[in-house]
């Protein structure tokens, strides 16, 4: 099916071109002056000012822990199975002293491959992996460093609160909604690998 393109028949004034240019100039000047004097720009001055992330924002993955500090993960491989990017590598092991006998000896996510679909979180039967950290600055100087391992992803969890929340509160005074903000914690904000 062909649809003829609607062509606007130009009037004489439009064909003169100059009045249209003036109109355009008026619009751009209006923006420029408004922004110059009002300084009310939608831009967020990112590293200094941070937008509060929505609660359901899928940030960096973390591994949740049980009260005794061990990871909840039991290396069932559901996440690795469901992952469309095949970025999760788990090596299972046996813990002889734990009634939950299976645990991940190593748990790696290749963040370069990850597409942040969140299927791993959905698939997890143990609520062991979450993407609720709100951390979106996932970067490193080497490919190896982009592979998050078990220790790193477990450390992202502090108590039962993602570090990201404290991070944002300190940075912008605006913790993501839904996190309680009573406890004050001081974190190094030196751009280190920690965050």
């Amino acid at each position: 099916m062909t649809v003829p393109a609607l062509r606007h028949e130009r009037t004489f004034v439009e064909r003169l071109y100059l009045p249209e240019i003036v109109k355009g100039l008026y619009i751009t000047l209006r923006h420029a002056l408004k922004n110059l004097f009002e300084q009310d720009l939608p831009t967020i001055e990112y590293p200094d000012v941070r937008k509060p992330m929505p609660e359901r924002y899928k940030g960096a993955h973390r591994l949740t822990t049980r009260p005794d500090g061990k990871v909840k993960c039991v290396a069932c491989m559901c996440c690795a199975q469901v992952c469309p990017a095949k970025c999760i590598t788990i090596q299972a092991g046996e813990d002889p002293n734990d009634p939950i006998e299976k645990y991940p000896v190593e748990f790696q996510i290749d963040m370069l491959r990850c597409i942040y679909c969140g299927y791993c979180v959905e698939a997890c039967p143990k609520d062991a992996i979450r993407m609720d950290t709100g951390i979106y600055e996932i970067n490193a100087f080497t490919r190896q460093d982009m592979v998050h391992n078990k220790a790193y992803m477990t450390d992202l969890m502090d108590g039962h609160k993602p570090l990201a929340e404290t991070f944002y509160r300190q940075q912008a005074g605006s913790a993501p909604k839904g996190y309680d903000t009573d406890e004050q914690r001081v974190l190094p904000v030196d751009g280190s690998r920690g965050l």
């Binding site: 039991v74 290396a75 069932c76 491989m77 559901c78 199975q81 299972a92 092991g93 046996e94 009634p99 939950i100 006998e101 299976k102 039967p125 143990k126």
Partner: protein
């Protein structure tokens, strides 16, 4: 033969056939836990309940129903489905929900049937009955009594197959618990089968424990090379790595069982004793150089002083190819087959599956020797060597020097094999061959059954399949047997050797075929009594 009707499909089966098998033949899958084709009927899981339409009435369990004329059953009526749902609910009442850590998940009947027939809403109000978990009950087994559904398959296996009877159901009602007598251990050589037949994750294998989720595994049908029995197996592997061997049902050979020795045979594949590169005079070399050097060495000696030794661990195709190469290029050379036994570390023998002969293809090599009377046996070879007639030995997968010992001093050896042994270590030229899991071919078991092995893994190092290595050697000498692949080699072999006449890979299929002139080997040494 009686004709039975299953879901309206008429099928003729031998009298007395179990209705689960009959239904399977008709294309209907009747879910079951306690029924096993090679164990007695217990009829305690009630999962295979079917509705009888004619030749009886009401609901009956299919496993305890024998085919008889006029019998008509239905496996998918609403009543049957309701029974299955209720049975599942009871079975799962005390079953723990630890599928994430259970090795069985992925091949668990409970999971499968639950998805198919389960009642998805739990009506359970009381706490589940706790039982013993994670018990070390044997060298290769872990028992989790909570996961048991009391099908008693393992109990029957202990009673009927090994006769040891360690496993029992203790206590009553919902406290019924599988276990062994405190202080005892399961120590027989067929433990792995207990893990296999357990329809749930109650008995799992220590060797496979937590290694891999089963759904990642690819499966290739093959044959165990641990002894001359030739148990049919499935090689479970992923990305070039084998994780386990599983027995494959072949009623003519191993039923559904295999011994633990064979089951752990995969551990050799990656062991340090593999030959991965060609070696010439102790120095590593390219494979092509090795083959050229081998051909040059063979041409450089008097043909009548060369002895070719067919291997009892090599495939039929390779043995045939070596015989052809010898005959075509060095007609004066002697060809021998060795009856030598190379038991290795595991010399256990019983009258169930484990044979005294640890070579998988002795019968195949012998079939060739029967075809060509000029092929001498091990005794002839020993004589020839001792008399100094042999200056050069071409050995295929065999430890000739290990048996001849000092007699072979000064004989140049050309060894084609996958594992290092005395011969390989002393050989002038070593050419790397693949492990049986890395090549196609056939083995002939002790009963003269020709069975296929299939390539499951990529070849390690420079190794080539046995037949191909021989083929290349022949080509370097001037005339190879002319096989493009293992299937062609077998076809040529079948066209030439009467014992294999007319066989093709397609005919062999999954279960293999007996040799055309069945000549059972002399029975193995008197069997030791089964392990207590």
């Amino acid at each position: 033969m009686p004709i039975v009707k299953i879901n309206g499909v008429e099928i003729e089966v031998p009298a007395g056939t179990n209705m689960i098998d009959a239904a399977a033949k008709a294309g209907f899958d009747i879910p079951h836990y306690c029924y096993h084709p090679h164990l007695s009927i217990a009829g305690n899981c009630r999962m295979c309940t079917c509705e009888i339409e004619a030749g009886g009435r009401g609901l009956e369990i299919a496993c305890n129903m024998q085919a008889r004329d006029g019998l008509a059953i239905r496996t998918d009526s609403p009543q049957v489905k309701a029974v299955r749902r209720n049975v599942m609910e009871f079975l799962l009442k005390n079953h723990p929900l630890d599928c994430p850590i259970c090795d069985q998940s992925g091949e668990c009947r409970l999971q499968d049937y639950y998805m198919e027939h389960g009642q998805y809403e739990s009506r359970l109000a009381d706490p589940k009955v706790g039982k013993h978990k994670r018990m070390d009950i044997g060298d290769h087994l872990v028992l989790d009594a909570e996961r048991c559904i009391a099908c008693s398959r393992c109990v029957r296996f202990g009673d009927e197959v090994t006769g040891t009877g360690e496993l029992r159901l203790f206590n009553r009602t919902d406290h019924t618990e599988i276990g062994i007598f405190p202080g005892e251990r399961i120590s027989h050589a067929y433990q792995g089968n207990l893990a296999d037949i357990c329809p749930v994750g109650a008995i799992t294998s220590k060797d496979f424990r937590f290694e891999k989720r089963v759904w990642y595994l690819d499966e290739t049908d093959s044959v165990c090379t641990g002894c001359a029995t030739g148990c049919n197996i499935r090689v479970c592997h992923q990305q070039g790595q084998v994780f386990r061997y599983m027995p494959r049902r072949n009623d003519a050979v191993n039923k559904s069982w295999m011994c633990d020795h064979g089951r752990l045979g995969w551990q050799d594949i990656a062991s340090l004793r593999r030959v991965l590169r060609a070696r010439i005079d102790g120095k590593q070399a390219e494979l092509s150089e090795g083959i050229r050097a081998a051909a040059a060495a063979l041409r450089g000696v008097d043909a009548s002083s060369v002895a070719f030794v067919l291997g009892t661990r090599a495939t039929n195709e390779a043995n045939w190819a070596l015989w052809k190469v010898a005959r075509a290029n060095l007609p004066q050379a002697g060809v021998y087959w060795c009856q030598g036994n190379d038991p290795g570390a595991w010399s256990q023998v019983d009258d169930l599956l484990m044979d005294a002969d640890k070579n998988p293809n002795r019968a195949g090599a012998r079939a060739l020797a029967d075809h060509d009377a000029a092929i001498g046996d091990g005794t002839d070879l020993a004589h020839a060597v001792r008399e100094g007639k042999v200056r050069m030995l071409v050995v295929l997968h065999d430890d000739v020097l290990g048996r001849l010992e000092d007699a072979a001093e000064g004989v140049a050896v050309l060894h084609l094999g996958s594992q290092r042994n005395t011969t390989a270590d002393k050989a002038r030229i070593v050419l790397p061959a693949t492990h049986p899991t890395e090549q196609d071919g056939t083995f002939t078991n002790r009963a003269g059954r020709v069975q296929r092995i299939r390539r499951a893994l990529p070849a390690a190092g420079d190794a080539l399949p046995d037949w191909q290595l021989v083929e290349l050697l022949g080509a370097a000498l001037g005339k190879g047997p002319g096989a493009r692949d293992a299937a062609t080699a077998f076809k040529l072999l079948a066209g030439e050797v009467k014992a294999f006449a007319g066989m093709t890979y397609k005919d062999l299929g999954g279960g293999g075929l007996p040799l055309r002139q069945p000549e059972p080997l002399p029975s193995p040494p008197p069997a030791q009594p089964a392990a207590p």
